[in-house]
């Protein structure tokens, strides 16, 4: 660690956008992005992810805070001096220009020579597999092809950051899956630091190096897809990424082996270091368990539940379970597992999960 500017390509510090509503649209956002990283900004609509992206592009001026790129705060720079490639959900191609002219637009403004422009445009179109489409008009292309032109147009200027604003949302399901890998592949080859805005957790999980989960203008958690899925930092993250069951419980025996009092049963709790800070014996918490972590067995005197419903959904069987206090849990079981066989509607079953599969949040 020589200087902070060398460790992080981009540093976002206390970035805030407040247009005078009940709460800021983006509220004191801070995180770092490494060179070449593919970062997902994930959250429900209205969480501030697009506002953040627009502040990066310079299309919105932050109320306060910094966006530091290569050691320099760019907040005061106009969009045309930021060297960012922006790809919109609507493609936003120039309809009166050919595909090649679209891609060449940024180079023309940079006064790049004719020969170099031609070769770089050809290279960018090859990268998005549209080699022979240069002379077409955007209106003659399909949605997926238009989106690829938009990507070529953004990467040809070798931007400092590639900003993708829900680029896949207008595509049909099959094309969307295909484009996911294609975009990630292009990004890996070019090594351009990328900020990818999406509301689709599946897209974020499959594409990103790290995911920044936003809610109500605030950063809930930033981490690798595995980390945000397995070690959700907040109940919001646990519920937004994947499905999660939530059961109220009480903590005890924190000094020794922590225990969880749930439905009159004692369960081993996660290790003390995985518990929220400030909990003591008797703290009311909520325990989060993923549906696929729940195991079913014959009643054995431990935690039991009644099977309400069993639904076959292909790769898994979904079982709805009701605890004695009327809390409902969803379990996902392999169709050929013993548990699935036990899950006859109306039957009493024992349910369990490993302490490490559980996340404890302050209630």
């Amino acid at each position: 660690m020589t200087s902070p500017a060398m460790t992080a390509h981009i540093r976002i510090r206390e970035l805030t956008f407040d247009y005078g509503g009940d709460r800021p649209a983006v509220d004191a956002l801070s995180f770092d992005i490494a060179k070449g990283e593919f970062i997902g900004l994930l959250g429900p609509s209205g969480c501030g992810k697009s506002t953040t992206l627009r502040m990066f592009a310079g299309l919105l001026a932050p109320t306060s805070g910094q966006i530091v790129i290569n050691g320099e705060d760019i907040v005061a720079r106009p969009p045309w001096e930021r060297n960012m490639g922006l790809v919109f959900q609507s493609y936003a191609l120039f309809p009166h220009m050919t595909v090649a002219q679209n891609v060449a637009f940024g180079l023309r403004l940079r006064k790049v020579g004719k020969a170099e422009t031609a070769s770089r445009v050809a290279e960018a179109l090859r990268a998005v597999r549209l080699d022979n489409f240069g002379s077409r008009r955007p209106a003659e292309l399909s949605g997926g092809q238009q989106q690829r032109v938009a990507i070529a147009r953004a990467i040809v200027i070798q931007p400092e950051i590639l900003l993708l604003d829900e680029p896949l949302s207008n595509l049909d399901a099959r094309l969307r899956d295909e484009m996911r890998f294609e975009i990630r592949d292009i990004q890996t080859r070019t090594g351009i630091t990328t900020l990818f805005v999406t509301h689709d957790q599946q897209e974020a999980l499959t594409m990103c190096d790290r995911i920044a989960v936003m809610n109500g203008g605030r950063l809930e958690q930033i981490g690798t897809p595995v980390a945000v899925y397995d070690q959700a930092a907040t109940p919001f993250v646990a519920n937004f990424i994947g499905r999660a069951n939530s059961v109220p419980a009480t903590l005890s025996h924190l000094s020794g082996a922590p225990q969880l009092r749930l439905e009159g049963q004692w369960l081993p709790a996660p290790r003390a270091e995985d518990l929220p800070v400030g909990v003591t014996d008797g703290t009311r918490v909520s325990a989060m368990v993923r549906p696929h972590a729940i195991r079913l067995a014959k009643p054995d005197g431990g935690l039991t539940a009644r099977v309400v419903r069993r639904v076959f959904v292909g790769s898994v069987v979904e079982v709805e379970l009701q605890l004695a206090d009327n809390h409902t849990l969803i379990a996902e079981l392999r169709p050929d597992s013993d548990g699935a066989a036990l899950a006859e509607p109306g039957a009493e079953v024992a349910i369990s999960w490993r302490p490490t599969d559980m996340r404890i949040f302050a209630a």
């Binding site: 592009a57 310079g58 045309w80 960012m84 120039f94 309809p95 637009f105 940024g106 403004l109």
Partner: protein, 263 residues
Amino acid sequence: MTKLLSFISRTYVIIVFCIVFMPMAIILVISFSADSYLSFPPSGWSLKWYAAVLGNTGFMQGFRNSALIAVIVAGLSLVLGLPAAYALVRLDFPGRTLIRSLVIAPLVLPAMMLGLGILMVFTPAGLVATYPGLVLAHLVMTLPFSIRILQTALSNLGTDVDEAAMTLGARPLQVFVQITLPRLTPGVIASSAIALILSFDEIVLSLFIVGPRLQTLPVALYRYVDERTDPMVAVLAVLMITLSLAIVLIVERSIGFAKAFGR
């Protein structure tokens, strides 16, 4: 049942069209009359009234004036209307909503009142019976239309494409000239065509401020009808309709009317 309904609706449409177009058809027929007064049907056919119109210095002078004024008004409507529309759609400033509604006020005010007001202002300014005066008066009529049409066209464009250009390195003026303006062409043509037609056909405001030395074609026609009624009136009406129709057709053929009005 559906057959009967379709018969009724077709008949209804035909009746409406007849009501709208019958007067024009009658005028067209009368324009080829050989009679020396307006009568229908004419007792004989000739082109002599067309020749009479073309040989009438008053009408020809009026036509030249109207055409010149219409072209200037159309140009100015665009030059003044486009920045106004841009500001009203794209820029955020206090009072924008109020100005948006005020801009169309001339359309809801009685033309008589506008004419009187214009006369009161123009007389001390020495603008009565001058080209600049007529152009200014017509602009009061055409600008609301131009601004409205361009406003619709601009808001239909959205901002994504312009913003994409901006992030690629284009400054605001470059964005406007290279991206916004080309995409706005249909709206520009439509608003100019409307301004041209409105100005060429304008009569109420013109009546207040024309003078014996400077007359527009509609005013000349109006004054002529006041004194005499011969088929020359029908010929002029046919010529004016043809001109307006030609402009509308050019717009329709070149860009499509729906597109021109930002649909």
